[in-house]
Symmetry: C2
Subunit: 153 residues, 2 copies
DNA sequence: GTTTTTTATATCGTTCACGATGCAAAGATA
DNA sequence: TATCTTTGCATCGTGAACGATATAAAAAAC
């Protein structure tokens, strides 16, 4: 058995997992001031780009399952950030639209992207290296998404 | 307001968040076959490197809070993977040790690192690019860890 | 040696994340 | 038209994550 392979320091996934959690924590004070969580912020990003989308489209855009997104949207509806209405053409669809409050949040959070951008900057994360890092992660995401099954043991 | 900054495609954090989730999903079939979750696998990686550690050390190694790790360890104890005993020197500490079953899991999971390693390989993730990616993520983690507070709005 | 503070862990409540399952509307097929 | 299948969303149960709080032991201060 290759004990090297089990070293935590050799685990790419652990780094991604940790970096993701810590960066989400960096968002926390900025978002919680407005009663938002990070996944809720992601939903807002999707809806700010294009309002009035069915649950399915939002979930696909975030690579999440609808059973994750539905309760999230229900909480946001209770907060008055968005509204959910059955589609007129297709009554199975639940069309999610921003309320006035949801739209106003974009202005109130206008400093967030820049603030977080500054927070991550360090020796190897710079405006020059981010595009390359983005490309690698996009490649990885596309690859993992098409292969939901890992290799069999 | 800079609408560009709000585009989902410009969000590094979203990529990390997604890549982390999808890669964890890739581990799922390999681990669930042995009744493990990914965070539980991380605990095992820590204990396989060094057995009999207090909760605090395990949590710090994983950059997690103890109130996340404690219930995780309790579930693993119930599964018979590890045991938890009060420290003799310091009775506040809870020393976590692998059981025979916990040690045997390392052999049973010996193919996991290689299998997952193969799964992530793609155009921009190769044996050559991984060290560089690791370095960037390590840098980012170290940086975020020392700065728990994001910039004020 | 008693009080105070710190440290190590645990408990509680809320919010994801997701597999499994349920249900009703839409579409396909007979 | 009646039946079958698919699709879109919801519900349920389990396991993280984490802020807030609690508790007991150890260490420090008095």
């Amino acid at each position: 058995m290759d004990r090297e392979a089990f070293l935590l320091d050799n685990q790419l996934c652990f780094r991604l997992y940790t970096a993701s959690r810590l960066l989400t924590q960096a968002y926390h004070p900025l978002l919680s001031a407005h009663g938002l969580t990070y996944p809720q912020y992601l939903v807002l990003l999707v809806l700010w780009e294009k309002d009035a989308q069915p649950v399915n489209d939002i979930a696909r855009r975030l690579y999440l399952e609808t059973n994750t997104v539905t309760p999230l949207l229900q909480r946001m509806e209770k907060e008055g950030i968005l509204s959910r209405k059955r589609g007129r053409e297709d009554a199975r669809q639940m069309i999610v639209s921003l309320t006035k409050k949801g739209k106003q949040l974009q202005e109130q959070l206008s400093e967030v992207p820049h603030a977080v951008g500054c927070t991550v900057l360090c020796d190897s994360i710079t405006p020059e290296t981010v595009p390359g890092l983005n490309r690698m992660l996009d490649d990885m995401i596309a690859h993992l998404q098409t292969k939901p099954d890992a290799h069999e043991l």
